[in-house]
C-alpha cells in the first residue's frame, strides 16, 4: 500500500513538473543557447549551408558603421531613459505616499495605465502627438505663441531620438512609481513621525528615511529599466519610425531584427543579439556596483 502510494506520488509529481519543463527547455532555453551557437556561423536559412566562421561575425560588427551608430543610440537611450524615469517615478511616489492628496489613488491608476498599453498603440498615439502640422504638441506650442519651436519632431534626425526617449519615459514611469509606492508604504510610519517631531522637513525625510530604506528596491528597478529600455525602444522605433530618419532612431535590436528577417542573415543577427545581451548584462553589473552602498561605507 505505502510503496505503491509512494510510486504513485512520484509519478504524479513527475507529470506535474516534467511536461512544463520540457516545453520550457524547447521553446525558451534552446533558443537562448542557439543564439550563442549560431553567432559562430554563417547561416542563411533552413536548408542552407551552415559554415563555421568562429568570431568573424563579431569582427564584422566592429566594421559595420550603421550598427555602431545603432549601438551609439542604445548608449544615448541608456543615459537618458532610466535616470529620468527613476526621478519622476520616485518623486511622484514620495509625494503620493504622503497622503496629503485625497485623489492620490486616481493619479496612481492613471500613471500606471500607459505601462499596460500595446506598444503599437503607444507608437501610433505618439505619432499623432509629434505630427508636424496637426500634431498635439505643435498645436500646443502654437497656442502658446512658440511657433518657432514647432519642429517636425520625428522627421528631423536631430530630434527623433529625443522624441523616442520621451515616449519611453511616458510609457514606463507609472509602473515603477507603483513599485516605489509599495516600497514606501512598507517603511514603518513611526520613523516619519519621529522625524516630524524633530522638525525634519519633507525633503529631509525623503533623503534621510525614504531613499536609504527604499534603496534595495531602487537597485532592482534600475536593472529592470536597463532591460526594458533595450527592448521597448526596439519595439516603439519599429512601429513609429522604422529606425529612421537616416538611422537616427535605429537600435541594435532593430538591426538584429532586419538581419534576421529581411536579409535572412541569421549568424550575423545572432552575433548582434549576443552583443546586446552582453551589453545589458555589463550595464546591469555596473549599475549594481555603483549602487552598492554597503561597499562604499566599508571601503
Amino acid at each position: 500500500m505505502s510503496l505503491s502510494r509512494k510510486r504513485n506520488d512520484i509519478l504524479f509529481f513527475a507529470l506535474c513538473v516534467l511536461p512544463p519543463l520540457l516545453l520550457y527547455m524547447v521553446f525558451y532555453i534552446y533558443p537562448t543557447l542557439n543564439t550563442f551557437w549560431l553567432s559562430l556561423f554563417e547561416y542563411s536559412g533552413i536548408g542552407g549551408a551552415m559554415t563555421f566562421v568562429g568570431l568573424e561575425n563579431f569582427a564584422y560588427i566592429l566594421k559595420d558603421e550603421h550598427l555602431l551608430k545603432s549601438f551609439g543610440n542604445n548608449l544615448i537611450l541608456m543615459l537618458f531613459v532610466p535616470f529620468p524615469t527613476l526621478i519622476i517615478a520616485l518623486g511622484s511616489a514620495a509625494a503620493l505616499s504622503r497622503k496629503d492628496l485625497k485623489e492620490r489613488n486616481f493619479y496612481r491608476t492613471v500613471f500606471f495605465f500607459p505601462s499596460i498599453l500595446s506598444f503599437v498603440v503607444v507608437a501610433i498615439v505618439w505619432y499623432f502627438i509629434y505630427s508636424p502640422n496637426s500634431g498635439l504638441l505643435n498645436n500646443c506650442l502654437n497656442a502658446l505663441g512658440l511657433k518657432a519651436l514647432a519642429l517636425p519632431w520625428l522627421g528631423d534626425s536631430r530630434t527623433a531620438l529625443g522624441a523616442i526617449i520621451v515616449v519611453l519615459i511616458w510609457q514606463a514611469f507609472g509602473y515603477y512609481m507603483v513599485m516605489y509606492i509599495a516600497g514606501i508604504d512598507s517603511i514603518p510610519q513611526e520613523l516619519y513621525e519621529a522625524a516630524e517631531v524633530d522638525g525634519a522637513s519633507p525633503f529631509k525625510q525623503f533623503y534621510k528615511i525614504t531613499i536609504p530604506l527604499l534603496w534595495p528596491v531602487i537597485r532592482i528597478t534600475l536593472v529592470f529599466m536597463i532591460g526594458g529600455t533595450i527592448t521597448i525602444s526596439f519595439l516603439v522605433a519599429n512601429v513609429l519610425t522604422a529606425g529612421g530618419p537616416n538611422f537616427a532612431t535605429d537600435t541594435a535590436l532593430n538591426q538584429m531584427y532586419r538581419q534576421g528577417t529581411i536579409n535572412a542573415n541569421y549568424g550575423y543577427a545572432m552575433a548582434i543579439a549576443v552583443v546586446v545581451f552582453l551589453f545589458s548584462m555589463i550595464l546591469s553589473m555596473i549599475s549594481n556596483r555603483l549602487t552598492n552602498r554597503e561597499e562604499k561605507t566599508h571601503g
Partner: protein, 283 residues
C-alpha cells in the same frame, strides 16, 4: 505662526496637485484625443485643429475598420490566442509550481534555478531563434504555435510568482483531502487552486495584457493575414493610412484595441498594482 505654516502647507499641497494634474493630462489627453478622433470625419481630421471635438459622431469609421480593415477577424484571432494562451499557462503554472514546492530535493531546486534564469532573458530578444525553431518543426504561421510560445514565454515569471504563494500554504489541507479519498489531481485543481487564487489571478491578469498587446512575435511568426492578431492588424493599417489617409478608420481601429484594455484595466487595476508589488517583474 500657526497660520503661516498652514498657508505654507496648503501652498505645497496645491503645487504638488497642479503638477499631478498636469502629468495626468499628459497621460490621458492623448488617449482621449484618439478616442475623439475615431468619431471624426476625415475632412475634420484634415483641418489641423487638434482640440476640436467631433461635430457629429462618425460611427462609420468603426464600420470601415471592421469591414474593410478586417478588424473583426483580427479581434477574433486576438481573443482566441489570448484566451488559449492563458488556459495553457494556467495548467503549466499550477502544475509546475505545485510540483516544485511540494516535492523538494536537489532536482526541484535545480529546476527552479533554470526557471529563474529565464527571468533575465527577454523573449523579445529571442524572436529570431524562436522563428527558426518553429520553422523547423512546422509551427510557423500557426496560431497554436504562437499560443505555445506565449504560454512558455510567460512561464518563468508565473512560476516564480506562484511558488511564492504555494510555499506559505500549510500541508494540512491536502492531507485532509487525501484521507477523504480525494485523488492527487482532484486535490490540486479543487483544493489547492482555490487556495492560491490570489496568485493565479495576478498571473492571469498580468499575462492577459502581455498576450493581448504582444507585437513582435505575432508579427514574425504569423504571415497569413487571416491569422493575424489585433496589434499586427493595427500596425499594418497605420502603415497604409500614412499614405491612403483614411485616418478615421485608423483611429477607430486604435480604439478597438484600446477600449478592451481600458475596460479590463478598470476592473483589475487594484489586483494589477498588487501584482507589481508581489512579483515586481514584467518583461
Amino acid at each position: 505662526m500657526a497660520d503661516s505654516s498652514f498657508i505654507a502647507k496648503s501652498f505645497a499641497r496645491w503645487t504638488t496637485r497642479l503638477i499631478f494634474i498636469f502629468l495626468s493630462l499628459v497621460v490621458l489627453y492623448p488617449l482621449f484625443w484618439n478616442l475623439m478622433a475615431s468619431l471624426k470625419s476625415n475632412t475634420e481630421l484634415m483641418d489641423n485643429n487638434a482640440f476640436a471635438l467631433p461635430k457629429v459622431p462618425h460611427f462609420d469609421n468603426y464600420a470601415r475598420a471592421f469591414r474593410k480593415a478586417h478588424m473583426g477577424e483580427y479581434m477574433f484571432n486576438s481573443i482566441y490566442v489570448t484566451v488559449a494562451s492563458l488556459v495553457v499557462l494556467y495548467l503549466l503554472t499550477l502544475t509546475s509550481a505545485y510540483g516544485l514546492t511540494r516535492y523538494r530535493n536537489w532536482l526541484s531546486s535545480t529546476i527552479k534555478t533554470i526557471y529563474q534564469a529565464g527571468l533575465f532573458i527577454q523573449v523579445t530578444v529571442l524572436v529570431i531563434p524562436i522563428f527558426l525553431l518553429l520553422n523547423s518543426i512546422g509551427l510557423t504561421n500557426s496560431r497554436e504555435g504562437l499560443i505555445l510560445v506565449y504560454a512558455v514565454g510567460a512561464l518563468p515569471f508565473s512560476v516564480y510568482l506562484l511558488t511564492g504563494y504555494m510555499v506559505s500554504l500549510p500541508m494540512d489541507y491536502e492531507e485532509a483531502a487525501m484521507i477523504d479519498g480525494c485523488g492527487r489531481w482532484r486535490t490540486l485543481f479543487t483544493i489547492i487552486a482555490p487556495l492560491v487564487q490570489p496568485g493565479l489571478i495576478t498571473v492571469m491578469i498580468f499575462n492577459f495584457f502581455t498576450f493581448w498587446n504582444e507585437y513582435i512575435l505575432a508579427l514574425t511568426l504569423i504571415y497569413d493575414d487571416a491569422k493575424r492578431t489585433l496589434p499586427i492588424g493595427l500596425s499594418n493599417l497605420f502603415e497604409v493610412a500614412r499614405y491612403a489617409t483614411d485616418w478615421g478608420a485608423l483611429f477607430a481601429a486604435l480604439s478597438i484595441v484600446l477600449i478592451p484594455t481600458i475596460v479590463v484595466y478598470s476592473f483589475t487595476q487594484k489586483k494589477l498594482t498588487e501584482g507589481v508589488t508581489a512579483g515586481g517583474i514584467k518583461g
